[in-house]
Amino acid sequence: MSISTPGGPERRPTVVSTGKKPAAGRPASGAKAGSGKPTGSPRAGGKGPRKPVTPVKVSQGRAWGPIALFVAVGVLAAGIIGYGAWASFQGSKPWDKRANAIDGIVNIRKTDKASLEYESHKSGPLTYKYSPPVGGVHNAAWQNCMGDVYDAPIASEHAVHSLEHGAVWITYRPDLPKDQVDKLASKVRGVEKMMMSPYEGLDKPISLQAWGYQLKLDNADDSRIDEFIKDLRVNASVEGPTALCNTGITATGTTPRELQQQQPTQ
């Protein structure tokens, strides 16, 4: 109640003021303006192009004023709407569209969706259709993917679980020159949802994996690496952005480990 009452008087002045405008040409408003400012001259100066409309012949000037105003407002409105449409089209391009636009990327989610499906976690060694694997059945434990840079091959059974949690896994052929390895490591270290390891038998020097996506490359300087990470890190997570990368397996070795029974605390 108390809110609506102060609202009323506040609204009213605006209603009154809009009423004034159409009345501007009539003598009544002229009298009002005159009462506000005693001399006759402020009339012309007070309300620029609108006031001079008095009996004189200045009809042409009066016509162009509103036209220019409407055109200007119309152009402004069209501009705002047009820019908004353009911006929303550009900005809302979803991550998967951007990922798909990366030259050479393989989208297994599209080409071979069945290979990513699984029923439950499985222990022991598993076979994968893609090398390195990009998804599908995996071990209950995931490989720690808190920006871990592994210097030896890791178990795919754990790595695939990390991909499921939204990690990007960078793999490289063990013969990749050290400066190239260092360049890759600098994109990984300290960045959660990133991990990296050498991978035996790669058909290209470097291969990037996210759940359902793969990109093979020759060179660590390739700008598509950053694009792949930007588009797919976290976004590719099957379990959302808060799926863990810590409390995973931190050891290397390609044989999957089984989760240890919780030791009684010291």
């Binding site: 409105a77 705002i80 709407i81 840079v149």
Partner: protein, 222 residues
Amino acid sequence: MTAPATTDSEYDEIPAAPDEGGRAPASRYGVLALAIMLVVGLLLGYAGGLLTPRLTRPGDASVEAGFARDMTSHHAQAVEMSLIAYRSATLPEVRQIAVDIATGQQGEIGAMQTWLREWGLSPTGSKPPMSWMSDGATVKDGLMPGMATPQQMTALRNAQGIEVDRQFLTLMYAHHLGGIHMIDAALGATDNAEVVRVANTMKATQQTELNNLRQLQAQAKG
């Protein structure tokens, strides 16, 4: 379309102006102008309302986005440390504060990631981490202020007994100090109400935890 219509009514009005009959076209013009103004005004208002949230939301290189991304990384390591302590520390109080930090910060990660999604931004920025901070803290090996090195993390993971408590408390104390430094930088550079609210909550929480960590450090010295 509207412009010629206005012109016509203008011309109608001019010769008629001095007479009585002039009033009819004049008011017709007034009604027309009012209608056009109303339509254009509504359109403008609609477009403005539609676009304002889109145009004013934080962009890819904004402080808000940088804070959300980097604080997510910073928090992620705190969660990792805390879960190690929760699993392996000796003192019950240390395990208690560890699980509190882990779940609290993991929840905040969820909030920050939701901001990024609502702003239409990727969790990964195009610029290096911390570039949103004006004092340009240099990031080495992805380590933001207060973060533990990979070697320190390995040591914590391999520690035994009360040594877990001690290392965790030392690392987490430094971690919170660095975190508060980043929060202060964000608070000084944003007026986004939601970011300010969450940042203030984070700061208050971490400041209280600093006191508790210090108290536990005395206890863990034994």
